[in-house]
Symmetry: C2
Subunit: 230 residues, 2 copies
DNA sequence: CGATCGTCAAGAGCAGTGCTCTCGTTTGTG
DNA sequence: CACAAACGAGAGCACTGCTCTTGACGATCG
């Protein structure tokens, strides 16, 4: 009875082992992942890999999905670890630092997720749902602030109408009651957080800033000010 | 007498033609630039390219330097085109939009400059000096504001000491009298601008924001608020 | 003017890549 | 037990970056 299950289990183990070795190669040598090298490390011949992944791009896609998932876990975990749920600023900073720490721990995977996209590559649906978890965590913090009344609706202000329309669609897609202006601040915060992490990971502030964690923290604090987190 | 010069000129023309075709390939197919394909397009054999560029990485480096130069030209030109030099906000927005426009017009080159770095690749000195021009343009706007008294020194505030030390080194390297706090705001502004552009170029807001120029403009205006530009 | 030397392009070749196909072997199932 | 599906190995194709050798062209010097 467990026969087919045994086969399926062996296959699943094979898939995870391929991904693990691929991740190791990715971390060691960067983006140009070699299927043949992975196969060599597994003591197999390259064509055997194709039993498990129809192409190199599919393997990369699997790694991307895993990466978004790991990043989402890190972000949600950091948020959940803040016991004082009313400490919105603490939760915001915890999530931002968690994103940075994950990126520093897995720079090659981070580059895969947020770096230059592959030419002909289009992200499948399954990646986007996982990709949305991290920004959703940040938005959730703002939503908590709004529902508890700590974070008032600043009003549309100078938000251009087309942007408001985009934000309205996004708000409905998230089935969130968050006002558009707060949603805009959340998106801007996520973009700035991503920008700061990418700047550091991609070596753009090499030789300029040495106190990177302190500078990142300072930026995220100012960002929390701008968003209006108490 | 012009004999050697003729040789040098022919060589220079060859170099620029190789770079032009390489840029075309880069734009068409993305980061994985093929030397052999470039050679084919030039009606040459691949080994002939090596007379002009000792390796593929050297060709990429040349393209990177050119890219930083073009981006710096765009930024400085946009700043210089604002006739009212006292309109700091207008200059800031002009530079930010110029960066975004250049990135949209040359996405592959932008990815080469600011995307995932090549594994073993270390940026030579000649790239960094060109790379500094664009942020230096933004810093220059803040410096104009400070020297004319429009932009007061907000004081160190909550800047962590290690960050202040980095900023002091950076200020001296730029031989600028800009206070550390303003320099920090400029750096943060540059990072946010880069983040917003990268987010868009790398397809991170596909399917989320459609009114991209308006949203970018809105973000940069809020950024100008935060910096304190009148 | 003729010999010489540096520059250039071409071609062959090496090691590596993604991917396809075929061929035995293994393995779980009717 | 026999069958079919799944599997790994191997050869092979077209491609890549890069090296080396060969032959031709042209400017320079004796």
């Amino acid at each position: 009875m467990p026969a087919a299950n045994i086969r399926a289990r062996a296959r699943a183990e094979m898939v995870t082992e391929i991904k693990t070795i691929a991740r190791r190669h990715l971390a060691a040598e960067g983006a140009n992942l070699s299927l043949r090298a992975v196969a060599r490390d597994m003591g197999m011949v390259s064509s055997a890999i194709y039993r498990y992944f129809p192409s190199r791009d599919d393997l990369l896609t699997a790694l991307i999905v895993d990466g978004y998932q790991a990043l989402g876990d890190a972000a949600e975990g950091a948020d959940a670890a803040v016991t004082d749920r009313a400490d919105l600023r603490g939760r915001w900073l915890a999530v931002c630092h968690a994103v940075r720490r994950w990126a520093l721990a897995h720079p090659a995977e981070y580059a895969l997720l947020f770096g230059s996209p592959v030419p002909g590559y289009a992200a499948p649906q399954e990646t986007t749902v996982q990709a949305a978890r991290t920004p959703a965590t940040l938005i959730g913090i703002l939503l908590d602030g709004f529902t508890t009344g700590v974070l008032p609706d600043p009003g549309p202000g100078d938000l251009p109408d087309p942007v408001r329309a985009d934000l309205a669609v996004l708000r409905d897609a998230l089935s969130t009651g968050l006002p558009e202006a707060l949603l805009a601040r959340g998106a801007t915060g996520w973009i700035h957080c991503f920008g700061a992490v990418s700047f550091e990971i991609f070596g753009q502030l090499n030789g300029v800033f040495e106190a990177r964690e302190e500078y990142f923290d300072h930026q995220m604090r100012r960002l929390a000010d701008q968003i209006g987190l108490p």
